[in-house]
Amino acid sequence: MANRFARGLLKNVADNWKQYVQAAVSIAAFIVAWQLYSTYLHQGNLSYKGYVPYPIDVAKALHSSFVHRDPITNLTMWSHIGASLERILYGFLMALAAAVPLGLLMGTFRTADALGRPIVELIRPIPPLAWIPIFIVVLGVFSGPVAIVFLGIFFPLLLNVIFGVRSVDQNLIDAARTLGSNRSQLFVKVVLPFTVPYLMTGISVGLGIGWMCIVAAEMVGNYGGGVGFFINDMAVRGQFEFMYAGMIVIGLLGILTTGVASAFGRRLSKWMGMT
């Protein structure tokens, strides 16, 4: 199976070689700009030159974090990734379980929407990070960060599902009714499949926000470390090469998870169409 995956990957690269080349060029340009700025700071011997380390030093730190165990935490970057992924997963699944039914409800029934809207509109603008001190104390050190991620993912997901339900093309509803659908068949065979792409958009957006929250969330609660914990701790100690390495890891993880989510979304759409 690894063979098939590898061949599939190579085929993807071969098909989209232009995009990969463009991506590589843009990243190279960024690294060059970074190197120039870093050199400029170091030459000038500015007090904050250490805050922008050379790209090569960050690369070395990145490698070291995966290979060497930190003497104090006894963890490698792999463990940190695992801890953060676990939190994101919990928060994500909880958000999914809450937002999808609620969104379908609020999108379909006017009363549900009228009841839910005020609370949603009240809480939504508050950045999840603002809740951190409260959640940590009230929910505990483990559940606090998960709750932060939950909040970050929940609202985009909810709003996208509601929007999806509301956007169902009236023509499709009419067609289904003239084909004999009753209310529940209408919901399952027309509304649900129609909402799936909106749901997937919500998931992509939500996951992105979830990763943004994880750094601040792990600043306060960090069983097993986590990439956010790593970034914070390195920054506090002034070991900025490692801090940037952690940021790169988060960036890559973000791309990876949203990529997986999109691929899953495509699979799901296919499956739903075959009901």
Partner: protein
Amino acid sequence: MEKKMMYAIAVVAVVVVASVAAMYVLTNSDKGPKYPVYFITMPVSSMKGSLGSGGIDGFVAWEPFDSEAIIDGTGTALEWSGEIMANHPCCVVVASTDYLAKDLGGGLTGADIARRFIFAHMGATEWMADALNHENGANYTLLVNLGMQFTNKSKAVVVSSFEHLKYSYAMDANFIAGITNFTETFVNTGVITPDKLTQGGYDNVSDFVSRYADDNYMTIAPNMWYGSSILNPNNPVRLGFLKADIHELAQWVAQNKTVGGGSKSMLEWWGVAVTNASSTGGYSNGPEEMDKFAAGDVDIGYLGAAPAIQKHLNAGVHTVILAGANTEGSAIIVKAGSGIKSIDGLQNKTIAVPSTGSIQYVLLKAAVVDAGLTLELKT
């Protein structure tokens, strides 16, 4: 007859020695498997709340956060830092080397002003130590009030804090030994990247300590006298300190007119104008203050020795230590009523520290190792 006596004494002696040995062995043998003590990191401001709600079983913080938790009944002190490492250095006075080299016009440099500042700091520190020695005196009452003003905490908390720290500026043998010990620990545990010592131009740890703790500013210079007019009216020293951190009370005292005799504060007597570097009434933690040093926002600041060392070596921030500010003044706090009486009782419990590079972590580690246990990150 004598032979029998001798045998009897010999038997008794053997029995006594044997039973003493047996008792010694029994009381010191392993009472069972040992569990690790766990730690996590958390901002100091969240620690008390988390202790109260049961999220953590204990924390290590600097005063007044410890006394605050004790006074309001949330926690009790398991060990004060002086019991773990007697006289350990804690907060220090740091100057930006860029500021020291700065030309302020009229033949004055930042170094000249810094020297006078340090003298005001030394005067204030001595005044505080003296006031604390005479608890019935008027100075003591004044000091308590100043402490309450600066920290915004209750009188009980301030009084308790005073009992568990010492205000001292001397960078004597004890201070140097403490700083050296911290630095070596940081290098050994990877908190300071080993290459950074040589990259910073230091041969080794003791070379670093001897150059980074610069006591030259504590000697009087030719044209300095107590009672000059303000020398830097247009360039007040941008002073940094940590919000409500009672370790750093010296700068508050040095700015107070009553302490200075009525018309001028000690700083004004030395001709130094100061202004608050932070726009929010102080920084939240030492690492943040070092970031401000790096950005050029702070000329002279009070902060913990750990960030002062770490960010200078790891990130090359242009700073140097000019004096001590206090020793001791931290504690391991556990939940009130938890029944934990010794470090042994921390097995399987989770203790919060501000960061893995903090002095509080070093203290916790030392206490745990002393008790024959291990300290691990909670997973």
